[in-house]
């Protein structure tokens, strides 16, 4: 306690110094925080624009606001790597940086409805049309499509490779109680899968049906570990093929086409939506340039996406 006494005397004497220290600490902290936020608010790097405060020369092509837009998309789109090619091309040409949040389609739709993103790129066409109808989104465009495939362990215990019809394949898996791993995350893929079970007249229930609640990559990995079957978009499968021991057991059934749409979150509901930049992005995606990038995107020599619209209305 003697030491304590000295301490107190010391503090009494150094009171102002101590207060200064506290102030300095707070100052430092604020700086740290602000730098953290400022980093976040940093404008996107715009090529060929030399730091004019507000470029106002009326040329709409070159004067998009210096900003970022938030794109909510599905894990399958994101995991394929397409956006890593497509979005930088957009940013280079027009300026706005695109920040990508990858979620299941259900969550991405919810993100859009809540106004937490500016633009959606998803693949559940019926649900998208409902979103347009209800006024949650506008300017929807069919951007590209790919197809779903059924993959399974090379052992193929259910003999699906001998089957061409999706309905029959699903019925065979269910009746033989062969392990099937389902996304179970309310994603576009999951929603499609549920429709297919219904079409096959099967209730997907029981120990053989594993609903894992994960993205496509995780689901494929778990299917591999479980030596089961799963339904996947071709893109994610191709991009992960080398790290998996899974083969395509069924493809080509017309029901398996998978249409991707892009749409703006309705600026009438959410004034903060960066509508001008979003429209530019949508235009870019369906422009010859964007469509060319999509169709030439390959992994392991195979194309993943087909440009445009692949389904009938």
């Amino acid at each position: 306690m003697g030491q304590l006494f000295t301490n107190i005397r010391k503090i009494k004497r150094n009171g102002p110094v101590f207060l200064l220290l506290v102030a300095a600490f707070c100052f430092f902290l604020t700086g740290f925080l602000v730098s953290g936020c400022a980093q976040d608010a940093d404008p996107a790097p715009v090529p060929e624009q030399n730091g004019e405060e507000s470029p106002a020369n009326g040329d709409a092509e070159e004067t998009l606001p210096d900003e970022f837009i938030t794109l909510a998309t599905t894990t399958s789109t994101y995991d394929s790597g397409l956006l890593d090619v497509l979005l930088p091309a957009f940013t280079e040409k027009y300026g706005p940086e695109v920040r990508v949040i990858s979620q299941g389609t259900g969550q991405a739709i919810e993100t859009g409805k809540r106004g937490d993103a500016d633009v959606l790129l998803i693949h559940d066409r019926p649900a998208e049309l409902v979103l347009v109808e209800e006024g949650h989104v506008t300017d929807r465009q069919d951007v590209m499509y790919n197809d779903f495939i059924i993959v399974g362990s090379p052992k193929d215990p259910a003999g699906i490779k001998e089957i061409d019809s999706l309905d029959e394949a699903f019925a065979t898996i269910a009746s033989g109680e062969h392990t099937f791993v389902s996304r179970g995350d309310d994603s576009g893929t999951h929603r499609k899968e549920l429709v297919f079970w219904e079409n096959a007249g099967v209730e997907p229930e029981g120990d053989w049906y594993l609903s894992v609640g994960k993205g496509m990559g995780d689901t494929l990995r778990m299917t591999d570990e479980k030596e089961g079957y799963t339904m996947t978009d071709r893109g994610t499968y191709l991009s992960l093929k080398d790290t998996l021991d899974l083969e395509i057991v069924l493809e080509g059934d017309p029901a398996l086409f998978n249409q991707y749409g892009i749409m703006a979150v309705n600026p009438e509901n959410f004034p903060h939506v960066k509508y001008e930049s979003v429209l530019k992005l949508i235009d870019f995606m369906v422009s010859p340039e964007g469509q060319e990038i999509i169709s030439s995107f390959q992994i392991g020599g195979e194309g993943l996406f087909f440009p445009g619209k692949g389904v009938e209305d």
């Binding site: 304590l4 301490n7 107190i8 902290l29 936020c37 990559g217 903060h272």
Partner: protein, 233 residues
């Protein structure tokens, strides 16, 4: 890929200072450090205040703090998400899916830990120090400061425990940060993503960095618990 291959690959990423990995690790540290600093500013005074009150009068709030210490991070994340979402009460701030939102979530996780552990530390010796300080003529502010100073090892322990919890946490920052590359992707969310994408060497590399940071944090904690031998004060 075998675990061994993964570890070898991971070390080469770390040793070559792979920019993606470094950026993520730095963001992790920055977010968690800011969150814990703020949580310290809130939690230490609260813990000190409660620690100096008679035990009977803080029974309810103590129970509440202990419960919140075990708050599942995803629940904290969900609450912050609902608050910060554009349709939520703080939606006008527009900070969802930014590092600021992640700081908020980690702050919510760290405050109860820092406050509760500070309270426990102060209770063990604070009363005595408080009375002594008063006897020696210290005012209210000086008394409180003296109490904090005398319990500094317990308080450092509390802060470091809070840091250890938030930096290793994945559920909350995934929900409120959105795991956006280059902006809100931190070590834990990157590990989840890279595992899903099959980039296991990157996932393992990040895991090793996280373990290393955790080791440093726990070494500090160990020193504080030993009453500050080899102390940093």
């Amino acid at each position: 890929m075998s675990l061994l291959e993964g570890i070898i690959e991971a070390f080469s990423l770390i040793l070559t200072l792979d920019p993606y990995l470094i950026k993520i690790a730095l963001l992790s540290l920055q977010v968690s450090a800011v969150a814990v600093l703020l949580a310290t500013l809130a939690g230490v005074p609260l813990g000190t205040f409660l620690g100096l009150k008679p035990r009977e009068r803080t029974r309810f709030i103590s129970k509440l703090l202990y419960t919140l210490m075990g708050l599942p991070p995803v629940v904290a994340g969900l609450v912050i998400y609902l608050l910060l979402s554009r349709v939520g009460p703080l939606g006008f701030l527009g900070v969802l899916y930014t590092p600021t939102a992640m700081v908020a979530a980690q702050f919510a996780l760290a405050v109860p830990i820092i406050a509760a552990l500070t309270m426990i530390g102060i209770r063990s010796s604070g009363k005595e120090v408080q009375e002594t300080a008063r006897t020696l003529g210290a005012g209210r502010f000086l008394t409180a400061w003296t109490v904090v100073r005398e319990s500094r090892f317990a308080i450092f322990g509390a802060i470091v425990t809070g840091l250890g919890r938030v930096i290793a946490e994945v559920g909350a920052v995934m929900i409120v940060g959105g795991n956006i590359e280059g902006h809100t992707r931190v070590m834990t969310t990157a590990i989840v993503l890279e595992t899903a994408k099959g980039h296991l060497e990157l996932a393992v590399g990040l895991g090793i960095v996280l373990l290393f940071i955790s080791f440093i944090i726990n070494s500090l904690l160990y020193n504080f618990q030993g009453g500050g031998k080899g102390s940093v004060w």
